[in-house]
Symmetry: C2
Subunit: 784 residues, 2 copies
Amino acid sequence: MIRHPAFPTEPWALSEVSLDLAALAQTESLFALSNGHIGLRGNLDEGEPSGLPGTYLAGCYELRPLPTAEAGYGNPESSQSVVNVTNGKLIRLLVDDELFDVRTGVLVDHHRVLDLRAGVLRRRATWRSPTGQGVRVTSTRLVSFVQRAVAAIAYDVEPLDVELPVVVQSELVANEPLPARAGDPRAESVPSAPLRHELHVGHGTRAVLVQSTATSRMRIGAAMDHVVDGPPGTHADVEAFEDLARVTFSAVAAPGRPLRVVKLLAYGWSDERSLPAVRDQVNAALAEALHAGWDGLVAAQRSYLDGFWERADVEIDGDDELQQAVRFALFHTLQAGARGEERAIAAKGLTGPGYDGHTFWDTETFVLPVLTCTAPTAAADALRWRWRTLELARQRAGVLGFTGAAFPWRTIGGQECSGYWPAGTAAFHVNADIADAVVRYQAATGDEAFAATSGLELLVETARLWCSLGYHDGTGRFRIDGVTGPDEYSAVADNNVFTNLMAQRNLAAAADQSERFPEQADALGVGAEEVAAWRRAASAMTVPYDEALGVHPQHEAFTEHQVWDFDSTPAEGYPLFLHVPYFDLYRKQVVKQADLVLALHLRGDAFTDEEKARDFAYYEQLTVRDSSLSASTQAVVAAETGHPDLAYDYLRESALMDLEDLQHNTRDGLHIASLAGTWTAVVAGFGGLRDHDGSLHFAPQLPGALVRISFRIVFRDRVLVVEVRSEEASYVLLRGEPLDITHHGAPAVVSQGEVLTLTVPPPAPRLRPRQPTGREPLHSRPPG
Amino acid sequence: MIRHPAFPTEPWALSEVSLDLAALAQTESLFALSNGHIGLRGNLDEGEPSGLPGTYLAGCYELRPLPTAEAGYGNPESSQSVVNVTNGKLIRLLVDDELFDVRTGVLVDHHRVLDLRAGVLRRRATWRSPTGQGVRVTSTRLVSFVQRAVAAIAYDVEPLDVELPVVVQSELVANEPLPARAGDPRAESVPSAPLRHELHVGHGTRAVLVQSTATSRMRIGAAMDHVVDGPPGTHADVEAFEDLARVTFSAVAAPGRPLRVVKLLAYGWSDERSLPAVRDQVNAALAEALHAGWDGLVAAQRSYLDGFWERADVEIDGDDELQQAVRFALFHTLQAGARGEERAIAAKGLTGPGYDGHTFWDTETFVLPVLTCTAPTAAADALRWRWRTLELARQRAGVLGFTGAAFPWRTIGGQECSGYWPAGTAAFHVNADIADAVVRYQAATGDEAFAATSGLELLVETARLWCSLGYHDGTGRFRIDGVTGPDEYSAVADNNVFTNLMAQRNLAAAADQSERFPEQADALGVGAEEVAAWRRAASAMTVPYDEALGVHPQHEAFTEHQVWDFDSTPAEGYPLFLHVPYFDLYRKQVVKQADLVLALHLRGDAFTDEEKARDFAYYEQLTVRDSSLSASTQAVVAAETGHPDLAYDYLRESALMDLEDLQHNTRDGLHIASLAGTWTAVVAGFGGLRDHDGSLHFAPQLPGALVRISFRIVFRDRVLVVEVRSEEASYVLLRGEPLDITHHGAPAVVSQGEVLTLTVPPPAPRLRPRQPTGREPLHSRPPG
């Protein structure tokens, strides 16, 4: 899909040196800007051509009915779909009466660059109109990390040869037509024309549109104002209509006498505030943006990112492509969550409408571990969003007949939106994943205020769910039957090892925290008996083991099933779920994504090293990675079990998922969890970071292809830099109190002002495990 | 729903002595007439009031899209819904300008009777109009068993007191409005106004409408003609419009000088024949009906039914209510299948639109065993319908990735119409059920022509499916993983005992018949290797057993699951599937309908007596009978395992399913399989009939409440009468060669002209097994 190499290898940017119209939808995702609240796809300023226009606001959705062929109790009746809100990115240009369109005339050059340190998308185009008039168009776009309601575009037009009349139309457009699509369950099902007019105002160079959605009753305000710097005689006009507001700038520009328009954009939405309140909210945001000015916004953006990279940067020596990909991944992970502020972080962030804009368990399992170590307030915000939806989760548990809270498998607002329960409602592990994110966040930050309130309540209500979901059988073992684990090629099975081990941690954590905060626990109705029941369930948790094979079955009976006939499955037969019925996938040994192997990582404390090695090798033969949520975990466990080169291959696959469109659906938005997993593959894979007991354990090593890796993590008000070379690793504490760690099992203390250098033991050579035919890591080695 | 006792107890009829408008929809089902080709619900002649208007033609459906919340490979995209075709039953009456409507004026008396020997529905009403004019209306309706395209109504009006002008409007009405419904997955989803006009003709007293369906392109012809016998001056008028044809008879009738209109109706449909062909077809059928005349049709109907009862009657001494219910059940079973002629026999027959008019596995498993022994040509027709759809089943298998044929879980035309695969596509046992019906039909009839052709091909293609569905594991056992058995409260489980045992029989039968018909098998591509593979799979078939409990788990791991909390489930919590998510049902020990217990019956040869007794008692505690397909099987196995009184209770539940509306959905049509199962509960239950080896084995016994049972069966051109009393049983051969049977295990020969009387061993007293709280048999004892 994306021609390789599409992008020159650079350490701190993603550049596109010429425009590829066939890959437009993909580059719109890659060049998307977001602060976690507003998301602007990287659509061209002039709107057309486009792959998929997109402007999103976190948490803002429309409802759509969930049709069912056969009614079933407890199936949700409606789903939520992310809304493509009013497009404020649009800036059209007329040059001497010719509309600037890259498909007409001659596009002499076209260059886009996403600057990972500046946090802006720059574009430069040189164009000759069909009548031969030449102009240079440059634009810089940002979505402010600092002013969350604000985005801005600086737009310059300069004739190349002679004086020319130019017209710049800066617009707000509601209900843009979207391309129709169907057939891929991962794609979106976006309602067409979801926005209903409520208000339009135009005055001076400012315009405001307020719209609302028909069913979800969300009110959305979009406002723009402009600062123009043009040749003498530059004229501005404003118009506003129901679905359109337009400010038109007319000027006669010339070489050396460009027309510059700075467009300031403000967005806001609410499902409770009145029309005047929403209108005033976006006007206020505009006022703040005007006060900061373009230069102020740019400077604040840079400063915000300097702080992020100081805490979060990862350096890779020996593979420049990977270096770029890892920073790209971190940048987009930050963009997805930075200013989410008690809204869900979607699977695609705000980069596209894939999966209808829903959030899943991957936010807690793949994204929050990264944010916890690099932008902990963003992690706290995301967890507080879950906490805000606890009442909905309690209601859902009630509908299902359980106690406690049952968080939705997929949602935007907190209501269950899954239309296929075997891979939705039945995947109860999402509850333990949330609990795990709570435990990890608390351990990494020591945020006691959170722990005693939202954290405790999340742990308690999820523990209650497990107690009513599972039961002690005649032999006393605690079983959790008929649930679906992470691997979506199995469903509704008994005692999924991942689920049971995560539930075990959930139960133990709820018990521990209830004892740490007895008053708060009491207020939640937790008594000693309930705590004892949690501990009893945790300690009696069933973890099946196949003695004959010497491996853990992913769930009970899994290893008795027929092994998928990989040798007869052609390359074009993948992803399997588009070519094979779930019926057949569920009953055979074939794994879409790490499940037992994810347990080896996240609950590594529950396995011996030998078990990990055998289990990993066994599941390698069965795992096809039809999900993007697999390579990073396989990288982590490959590294731990003595396969650093395989880990490196999986790290590359994870890192290049979207840059090379490996799953062929980057057009719908980026795979935020895979991007976040890239960090985890480096830090937990080659850094060997584990935190099962709440403190930091490292076991660094390098793959043969790399010379050096360094990464940084925030831990309890400290910033730790870890540098890994082939024979030694060093630890540096940038700030904070001395820190106890372990290095390959040996305790050590890192203190500010000193470099702690320790030896990396040589790798024990192990036979590289085999993957299913044709399902080896997608990028074994960097090109060339 | 139906007030009890609604119907006086009579041996050969079902009478309603006064009209209960609240139970109209139910009585419309009970009084439905059908010959297996045409079905007329027992709607009042004048059309209104009605519970649910309904006129159906076997195999005639419209398509509707099957919506899915999340697309999945292999899910069918459209379903078929039985069409309410042109209503020809309508006869409206005006008496002195007042429309006859039972809701107005005074309904002095109203009497309906379904005559099980005459095969007609009679109605008599005495009515005084709002202005005080009295009339008696009598009508007799039949759907001819002999002329399959023909139905007829004799309609008489006679003033009670004085001469009155009367107008009889006899109509054909297309696209009747139907009441809207939703929420119960067992109900219909009938398209509104499904019929598109193609032709309307009126001439003399005859009218023809031809319509077609929009999507399935089925062309439906309905025609009527009349024979009128009225007072002098009786006048007839005909009109025809797009959706309506009307013949109006005007007369001045008087006491002793009635107006009599005989309405002859003909129906035909085709998905390939032209408009003229369909038009001519219904005109020809009318001509034949006119030739026979009303009296001729009535006489032929009687004669047809005399033949049926001679082969099929069941007598019950000691419970008159049961006697009536059993004959009612047999009558409707015959009606469902008599003249199906290579169309599906639907779950509701042609008595209502429930389940969209689909056929399921219950036809082969519950209905065909009865037809095989009472109306074998109807059974052959039904199996030939499956054979006609083999190519569709092969295509479906191909889509799913298997070889052989995968018959649909639910269908009208042969295409899979299930929108929920865990309880649809995954229920592969339907294929073995079809094979079992083939085996049983062949054994009972010796129909070699069938066996060598359709029969063989059905066995071969279903055996091929099992070979590709299952596999030999490392230990050589043949496993069938991830399928759904009969019990719909479990799904997608490994080695369902019923499925595996039925597949085993299927595989062995395919092997046997291929060896019996080597040339024909060769033509189907069957070689010695394939036959050997079938035998190998059959002999290595996995049948799980729980050693600790000493019972067979319904499927692997079933007995390890939590037992449903029956004590906390209130009566109004049933049926569970309307109040609980499938998720929770699937993972607990709770049984909707006989599954393992059905295996104990149909594959009784695979269990010891002790196993049967223990298994039955175990599953009794878990079975809630939220399906009507359970009581009859529980009756059979209760009788076999020493619980004749419990068997009797289940027999009553099965027999009274619709007469007392026990499942609260008789309005949507009758439960044909439950009605058929009533026969099986008597014959296989108290007669103890088993035919595992193709010959007849009896083990008769009586429950305490009954004095005598007698039943008849057709077997290889013989008619055998079995009479059971408490201490002895007698066997009489009405026609045919001497017959080898066994009686309680002892061989015996029955010859024409002699009564073979044998002792019935006294029952061994056994403790009555318990059912879940509140789920005891619904009718333990006859009232009074």
